[in-house]
Subunit: 203 residues, 4 copies
């Protein structure tokens, strides 16, 4: 007899996490109700308690699931250190990453709940730390190689990441009309053509 693959095994847990992330991002932790999440996941509110001890944990799990996803990308690019080329690629990837739907959900959540929920903040801290730990030696190396001028790596980070964040927040999250129509590439190009040269050593 043939194996019974049956219709795709409904991964309830994943479905719930998915619905949860969506609703937490859309309405915030308090305003998103268990009932709503459950409905979106196709189960009953009571069912949530089979998979998670409580709403708080469901929330954490949903966020954890997606925070830190960008770290491997950074790892790859810094490891294969091709200098400025890697940096350019990194900026491109970062911009694309934070333009993705799920990333924006997480970002929304982190910006909204991070300031008041230690665990959320911590998750973001961990992620940032991981990235900076890889980026810092990379930048130091570039400085030593005379490719960029000596700066506090944290400031360099802000200078490069800030505009990306600004673009995502103003254009996507707050949807400021004036900022609509600015392409991801335009932002990255501006970084590459303006900020990056500024970072280079005066000849």
């Amino acid at each position: 007899m043939a194996p019974r693959p049956k219709n795709p095994p409904p991964d309830r847990r994943a479905e719930i996490l998915d619905a949860a992330l969506r609703l937490f991002a859309a309405k915030g932790f308090e305003a998103a109700t268990n009932a709503e999440i459950a409905r979106a996941a196709g189960v009953t509110a009571a069912a949530l308690y089979y998979y998670f001890p409580n709403k708080e944990e469901l929330f954490r799990a949903a966020v954890r699931e997606h925070v830190g996803t960008f770290v491997p990308t950074v790892a790859d690019l810094t490891r294969a250190d091709r200098g400025l080329e890697s940096l350019r690629e990194l900026l491109r990837r970062a911009m694309d990453f934070f333009t993705d739907g799920k990333s924006q959900m997480v970002l929304k959540i982190v910006l909204a709940e991070g300031p008041r929920r230690p665990e959320i903040r911590q998750a973001w801290i961990d992620q940032t730390a991981a990235i900076l730990e890889m980026l810092t030696p990379f930048i130091m190396h570039a400085i030593a190689a005379g490719q960029i001028r000596p700066v506090d790596p944290r400031l360099a980070f802000m200078l490069l990441q800030g505009p990306i964040m600004s673009a995502v927040v103003l254009r996507d999250l707050l949807q400021i009309p004036f900022m609509q129509g600015i392409e991801n590439d335009a932002v990255v190009d501006a970084l590459l053509e303006i900020t990056l040269p500024g970072l280079m050593p005066n000849r």
Copy 2:
């Protein structure tokens, strides 16, 4: 059944708005309860309804009170157009402004509730629009004068404002340990010495 403190007739409305802003920033719209806000303002929850029709309106009023406060500063500096000097001053002032307690409260609220509350988003949009309307001609003028190279003013805005936002969000709102100890001046200096030169025309 209803005694009442008397003596110095304080500005209840202002006190309530103050407490409201504080608590909304600290806990979010949903999590901040009327009772809490009232207590912080030294009145009863019922008193809130004497001054505002409901929680929602109190919230809006509290936010409106402080959104847009930075606009006059931009107006002053762009009007007295002293070129790059004005821009430098503007960056310094912006950094200081968003480091102020009240501004950070508003920022927290806007980042948290803006994506889901049209009125909040609109308030921020209006503010940004006002600033950009003054900044755009200013930048165009600088381009015409050959002081900076030709760029989309919106991208210039992102390049300059992004790092400020990044600093405030990462260092102050999310309190990422790695970012602690970075002074406002350092950020502004980095902008002035790195991004700004990058904006200048190639010699």
Copy 3:
């Protein structure tokens, strides 16, 4: 110098009682709020407490003002005992009386609150008692005179008053469509031509 008649002295108390009656009839005791009544009377809610000790008393006063107004009419007609002629006149007057706006307000209130408010019920009891006290001897007299057949005066009362009440309740208070268009006169005529003959002794 001429007398100073000034603009009609605002009889606040009367205005308040008026507004109160209107609103109590329209929305019921609980649903009619002090603020509403006050607004309708052109004063502040606090002002009500200058004229009445509390909402309850205002309510009673408003009802008392108008309950029993029909008694004098009955008194006149039974005193000047012109037999059946008086009875006919009485029915006509009763029908007209309860068709009047204020009477219907009171009736609405009595039917709604009477069953649960002893004072209201009592006011109605007193009124009914007064009427029956005058009507009973009148009917007894008519029986003795052989004008109507011997019946329990209370039943006679029901037979004659019931249809009037039915008309007012069904047509005016509940506004049953089917009953619209029935004139007061038609009801009175039916009573005079049908019930009254039935009351007469068999020839």
Copy 4:
């Protein structure tokens, strides 16, 4: 946090409706609180919201449940048209029906809330319409058969139903002392012996 009585799974919904009807009749819609109703039904106030979307709907459901219960009786009696005999029976049944506890609750509610709540009024309208639709041809038929004299069926209705309503309202709802002790039979007899003969054609 939420234990619960179990054992005989009683019909909660019915129990709630029952308690609701009782309390709404006794204290009116506004004055009857959810907590009270719930207590009377042996559940928590929150449980009401499991079965009904809100207080208003609970109210409607409770009333609807019992309005119109008398219609089938009328149907039976008019269908099996035994002329005046049927009418006599109908009056007897009507009197008994409206003397029943539940009917009086509903009547209280309709008289109290009908004038201000369209849905309640409508329910009563529908019921009355149903009855009149059966009664009208019945009366026309009796007229045609020369059993009663030609009258507007609506007036005939008032003449017969009015005294019943009067009896119930004055004796039972308002509990006017003077009207106590009047038996249902006495009212029906009066109708049969006085009003009915009046309705008959003059010989």
